[in-house]
Amino acid sequence: MEGILEIQNARYRYPHGPEALRGVSIRIVQGSKVALVGPNGAGKSTLFQLFNGMIRPDAGTVSFGGAPIEYTARALRDLRRRVGLVFQNPDVQIIAPTVYQDVAFGPVNLGLARDAIDRAVRDALSAVGLAGYEKRPPHHLSGGEKKRVAIAGILAMEPDVLVFDEPTSSLDPASSEEIMELLDELATDGRTIIISTHDVELAYRWADHVILMEQGMVLARGSPEEVFADHALLRAARLKPPRILDLYHELVARGIVEDRTPPRSVLAFTDCIEQHLHGSSLRTAREAAGTVYICNVDAVDGDAVRRLITERPIGHTGAMGTRAKEFANRELILLDFTYGVIDKCILKSLIGESSLILSSGGMIDHTHRRIAEYSAESGRALIAVTVPEPMPPGSAGRLPGYL
């Protein structure tokens, strides 16, 4: 695997301050999802500033794409386009008076032409689910929306690496989940994503690779299962082990489940227990699985969805993405799930209940993919149906997202 960002033995001391980094070496693989975990003051934010050349290490080297960073104005600008840093506090990062102008800030400074700028802004805003917010002033947005604007401002420069400093800090649980879902979506396009957090639950569930930091040094690195299994290490870093992993180890210790790859989600955990109870052939475990209906809110109106819910045996309704949630809000459709929707619907489907996922755009394909993946892995054929039937190609013109 190719390392895109590499730091070797970096040391950094703030002027008149303590040494924030005391010999840090890390290597970030292209296309991976990395979580930098550590308590407050571990040096996570300082390390992030090394990534895009905001600060220069006192000793050690920082390389991007195999070559050491040059600290000239030109090289730094190029680096900062390719390594996008999203600050912890969006109020610090949002500088322009409207959403459009703020997202356009990067592309304008890169010297793009007007229509290229417009395209970049449109793509970035629709990627974060804020299409139609162009003219809003930032002080009229909620915390979660501001965070999305900040992310869009970085996405508009089309970076290869996205670095998020505490992406979910000061967001409510639902907004946090939505932001993490967004990060997952961004990662599927082959981008490298690095986050810092002290939320071990989040890092455990989300990351491919975890780097544990404490007092300016790297304590451990590896897969989340490995790093978070070492309780002594976590205690040293003033962190708690993730609940799911803790519970899993206790169940293994008592011989209730077998020791294999620890599960990362409620879905994986229940499968793991069921597998133990019913043996490995899960196919025969239960009665027929429920169907997952997937509905594109851009192609239907509220009445059609209500008809769908009454006509089919739909027991649960979930919405994925801002557009779908707005749609449900407007049409007064009661939602059972607003985050982790796919997993929850799979869980319902496994106990024979059908559910409906309201979604839009690229998330529809993503949902189908995820359910197909699960079916292949678990050996239980789950049925996912797009409702209403997709329009024949050619007539499927994109409807305006905002009505």
Partner: protein, 262 residues
Amino acid sequence: MTMHRLLEDFAQENALRDVNPGVKILLGLASILLCISSPGPVTPLFIAVSLSAATVGLARIPPRFYARLLLVPASFAVMSIAVILFLTGGGAVLVSIPLPIFTLTVTTGGANLAFLLVARVLGGMCSLFFISLTTPMTDIFTIMQRLRFPTVFIDLAMLIYRFIFVVIDEAGQIYRSQRMRLGYGTFSESIRSFGMLAGALFLRTWESGEHLVRAMDARCYDGRFGLPDEAPPVSPTWALGVVLYLGLVAGISWTTATITLC
């Protein structure tokens, strides 16, 4: 969020948000010019009434809020007009109030001038409020960019606009945390608390400035700040309406030039 809603908050949500800002500004500015140039009081009064109707009726600004807003300049106007009423002479004597040392008299000349001034102040204020309540600052930046105002000026204005709200929020937070811990209890305590607020705000502003530089660097700042937003197109109805309205006002101004209060 701050506790009070600002003019700007109403402007962001007014019902005429989607009308081309150039048309609205043209309407407001031309009305002000017609107010000032009108020799008689009828034209400014007509402008005051019609633009107030537009602000409340078309832009859907709450009438109570609008009335409270007008009260501020109106009270100023009344005070200064009282002076003019008694000090300007000319024409027949209307009222005279004998005082021990001198006599206060109101003449027709004084009354007419005072009334004309009240009318102009009202007309002018209504025109200004029409602009500020229907056209948010963000749209005005767009107009300035299109009119080729100096970039430095617009960039600064945009930054100031963005940070006004950050500063208001910060000040509100500091103020509330002072109130929670019993600041502003007595007069001397108020003075001390206010000093602390100003000091804390200065430090935070300084910090924000440093953050801003870093934020701009991280996003490849190269001396270019913003682009004009896309302005909504000029609708023929509105263009025609504004031209007709201004024509009507000019006509009124022409025909009612000699009409005075008394």
